[in-house]
Amino acid sequence: MTKTPLHPTVGELLEKLREARKGRGTESLRLEQVRRYRELVAHNPTFTPALLELGRLLQLTDEPGVEPEEAFVEVQRLLEQAVEVSGREAAAVVELGYFLDTLRNASEKATPLYEEGAAKALETLEDAWAGLMRAWVHERTTESLKKALELSELAEKLFPDSGRIQGVVHDARNTAIRDGLLKP
């Protein structure tokens, strides 16, 4: 007896997302798009991209026979779900912030979410810059070291207390000095 898989594969999920996105930006196709997203979300309630995208789409879609409050409750539920299942990732947190700020006119609830989103995004930026500069130092060409030195200035100002940034900035400068790009 063959088992029916309970969960779709990653490939299947992405295919369904591509399907749901069809007709993006075309207003006349929006209701059909909403239907496909709803189906996708119903079967995959932890799929953050679909939750976020449907949450945004519904704010722009006027569904006949749907009371505004009913629509807003659904959007809020989707966005809160996206925040939760994504482990409070920046994009989801900020999207919920905008919804509360604008559609619920509750900036006092949105502000802490904007702050949280900004903090999360900064962590990612610190991580990405450290990796990028390390790669440029390892590449060790005139061009790559120049890029590392340029980014060093910005990175140091933004992350003065980051050990990772300070470390890689130090490496970039030392390597540049050794290769004659910077005066000791």
């Binding site: 722009l60 505004p68 619920r104």
Partner: protein, 170 residues
Amino acid sequence: MRTRKALLALWAMLSTAGCGHGEAVRREEPGSGLRVECARGDEGACGAETSGEETRSKGGTVSARIWALIAQGQFAEAQALIAESTAAGLITQQTATRMAERITLLTTRLGQVPATLQRVKDFPSQLREHSLFQIKQMLENKDFSLATQAQLKLAEKLIEQQERLMEKVQ
């Protein structure tokens, strides 16, 4: 704590570089020439320097003038200058597009936002025929003759929200 510090540092850096949301204007700094302007603080908007000091200075001046015209609501003049400057190669196509998008946003009337957004609680319908630019002006001038401060703020948020959502659902 550390994050707050980093956020402040980021803000300070963007301010000195003349980058920021809204009507960013390229600032001329004595001695150091022109700082790179940044229309929206997003990718590609900052650091879009063109090669050659002369072109950069010229482009900077023109760009600053256009952003100032947009900020003042002189959209026809701004549009004419955008077309002229793009043709003359003084501003990039990307900058021209950003400027045109900004004009579109500022001239959007509250009544043009999608019906769903018009159904929010306390929607200020009396502002339907007013553009984002006019609403911003009323807020700035503390002109509450047509709508309360809270209504003007909500109207501003709704127009801006529809623009960011439209961009994201594309």
